[in-house]
């Protein structure tokens, strides 16, 4: 048994400072994703949130639990014997979080322990007035994963880290005693990125994705679609080119989502679904990059391989 993609939906914010926060966007994406796949929230067995930059930087509880309540996925207590329940938690793995979470959902759905799982991810600058260097677009996405048979679904995952590049990207929340309007001090979100980040991510993504294709017995020309991170900008295009994957196999993401962070791969997938690229693709290569540097890749088969 495998795990197939049932729907991928994003939500983004119009306006900047006074717009809606990450939670609102993620709730919206989650609801729309379930609607698009004609599922009820109560059918969800597993809900994993992979976003990093939350409203008010909430650290507890897992944001997934709040989203579960907001979308009405079996929030009631107690879960009566014979009724359905949902397990929610957060995964944090930078720009690779969605693929890591998909791997976890695949583990439970693929073995039949769960029927339906959803990965959600959303980021928005928690404090636009004081944050320093925050580069990401306010955006969220939801990816619905269900059971599949006949070899359809995720075939393999591969994740590697390259800690020699750990200093190329770091995001922190640090106390600044003089920050804020009245200089009373603030906890400030700071994002520091070295110019070499994009090049290093592409270099290692080519390595990891190339090895994954070889391990699956595929050539670059067998890849019909490349779904990648939207950050660093142009990442998926560069990786596809370096792997010699034929042109036109990277979906064009709308401009509002070009700098989406954790939801980036979902934005690319949504674009591919809307353009019917995904439905036509036999082999889809997922490749994502995150701080660390972490590279996560996966191969997805749309139809049974002969």
């Amino acid at each position: 048994m495998g795990t197939r993609i049932e729907a991928a939906v994003t939500a983004h914010r119009r306006g900047h400072v006074f717009g809606r926060g990450a939670l609102h966007l993620t709730d919206s994406a989650a609801r729309a994703c379930l609607r698009r796949a004609h599922h009820q929230p109560s059918e969800l067995d597993l809900l994993i949130h992979a976003g990093l930059y939350k409203d008010r930087n909430t650290a507890e509880p897992a944001l997934a639990a709040i989203i579960q309540e907001d979308i009405g996925a079996n929030p009631g207590s107690p879960p009566q014997i014979g009724h359905h329940g949902t397990f929610s938690f957060d995964v944090q793995n930078g720009g690779c979080g969605v693929l890591t979470a998909a791997q976890l959902v695949d583990a439970f759905v693929g073995r039949g322990h769960a029927h339906l799982g959803m990965v959600v991810a959303g980021d928005a600058d928690p404090s636009p007035r004081t944050s320093v260097g925050f580069p990401f677009a306010p955006a969220a996405g939801a990816l619905l994963l269900g059971r599949a048979g006949n070899g359809v679904g995720f075939q393999a995952f591969s994740t590697r880290t390259f800690p020699e590049h750990a200093a190329l990207f770091e995001a922190t929340l640090t106390w600044h005693p003089d920050a804020g309007l009245a200089h009373l001090g603030r906890n400030v979100v700071e994002v520091r990125e070295a110019p070499e980040l994009a090049g290093a991510c592409i270099e290692h993504a080519v390595e990891v994705a190339g090895e994954l294709l070889v391990s699956c017995g595929l050539h670059a020309s067998d890849v019909d679609l490349v779904i990648g991170s939207q950050y660093p900008h142009g990442f998926a295009d560069h990786v596809a080119r370096r792997l010699a994957i034929p042109d036109g196999r990277v979906p064009v993401v709308r401009s509002e989502l070009e700098r989406a962070h954790t939801a980036g791969p979902i934005a690319a997938l949504e674009a591919a679904i809307d353009a019917r690229q995904f439905a036509r693709a036999t082999h889809t290569l997922f490749v994502t990059a995150g701080a660390g540097i972490t590279i996560a890749a996966a191969l997805y088969a749309q139809r049974a391989r002969a």
């Binding site: 509880p61 897992a62 009566q80 014979g82 938690f89 995964v91 073995r111």
Partner: protein
């Protein structure tokens, strides 16, 4: 399986069984008594914290300690008690709520798991962070158990370091009465814990069942976030409501999940619940006895000496009782998480070599 809980038990067809192989901890040296903490409050509160919670003292990080350093220290301690090396780990999951890499810097990215695995030589392990409030480490064990049972990996580590007493220091500035929503922040303690889960040799009982569910209509009963005009964070907890939900719903959930593992509460030798306060644990024990007509043979309590160390409480307690030689081979041990969310998680395992390698004799 009960459809309300995502669960795995020995009754499910799976090629392998997982077991706990090693447990390690890192506790800061510095101790603060509840009396000392209450003497530091800005307002005169008349709260006898020790009497109210049963917590005598807790540990507090020094200036050079952080969530990351506690996690790395616990991971090294865990490896020192293990038969394997860092390089043998195929998965490293960091599960802390706090993510301090120094006294006041919380890190979003890169994930803490990346720094931890590099520090212990587990470079090739798949690594990621899990955030699930005080149920974080048990969530990590739940995930590792699944990967090991499927045969995807042979061995992994769940690790957490909590530098969390800053919440208590911030609360001490604000609290005026026992009804303060920050009261629970005064019960917190710092600490790190790590556990290795591995494929059990054939015939070993290992982890009998594991399961989780989220009672999300209570998701906003406890919220923790960075403070506005102060370093560190603050936490607002409707502790009475959480306690009531736990007491009302907990017994039936526990009875149901234990039945999945083919056992009952009366057959459990040791129950290790999330350590919030001595009073809450004893109340829980009473309610279980009243509602289920049975009780575990022993209830593990370490909160009196460590405070509530968030995601690490279960494994600090397990480690403490292991090193004191309290367990015996064959004992059934139930780990129970009830955490913000509201997360309810259980892992039931049968004690084996862990008792020899970590106990008295060792």
């Amino acid at each position: 399986m009960p459809p309300w809980m995502l669960a795995e038990s020995r009754r499910d067809a799976a090629p392998y069984v997982a077991r706990f192989e090693s447990v390690g901890v890192q506790l800061p040296e510095h101790r603060v008594t509840s009396r000392d903490l209450m003497a530091s409050t800005r307002h005169h509160t008349r709260i006898d914290l020790e009497r109210l919670t049963g917590i005598r003292e807790h540990r507090v990080c020094g200036p050079n300690e952080s969530s990351l350093s506690l996690a790395v220290g616990a991971a090294r301690d865990c490896l020192a008690r293990s038969h394997c090396r860092g390089a043998d780990l195929e998965m490293v999951i960091s599960a802390s709520i706090t993510r301090y890499v120094d006294g006041t810097t919380h890190r979003f990215e890169p994930p803490l798991s990346l720094s931890i695995k590099e520090a212990i030589g587990a470079s090739s392990a798949l690594s990621f962070d899990v955030s699930n409030a005080c149920a974080g480490m048990l969530t990590g064990v739940f995930l590792l158990n699944d990967f090991i049972r499927r045969g995807e990996i042979q061995r992994g580590m769940v690790v957490s370091g909590e530098r969390i007493t800053g919440l208590g220091e911030n609360a001490a500035r604000d609290i005026r009465s026992i009804f303060s929503l920050q009261l629970a922040s005064l019960t917190l303690g710092d600490g790190g814990a790590a556990v290795i889960v591995e494929r059990a040799p054939e015939g070993h009982p290992g982890i009998v069942l594991s399961g989780f569910t989220t009672l999300a209509e209570h998701s906003r009963l406890c919220l923790g976030m960075p403070a506005w005009h102060q370093p560190g964070a603050r936490m607002f907890t409707r502790a009475r409501k959480i306690h009531k939900v736990s007491m009302d719903e907990g017994p039936a959930l526990i009875e149901d999940i234990l039945a999945l593992g083919g056992t009952s509460l009366g057959e459990v030798d040791w129950m290790i619940p999330h350590q919030t306060s001595v009073r809450a644990i004893k109340a829980g024990e009473r309610v279980l006895a009243e509602k289920l007509g049975a009780a575990p043979k022993h209830m593990v309590i370490t909160v009196d000496e460590y405070g509530n160390t968030a995601s690490t409480t279960l494994f600090l307690a397990l480690h403490r009782y292991l090193t004191e030689g309290r367990f015996h081979a064959g004992d059934k041990v139930l780990l129970l998480s009830v955490a913000s969310g509201l997360e309810v998680g259980v892992v039931l395992f049968v004690m084996d070599e862990l008792e020899h390698t970590h106990g008295h004799a060792h």
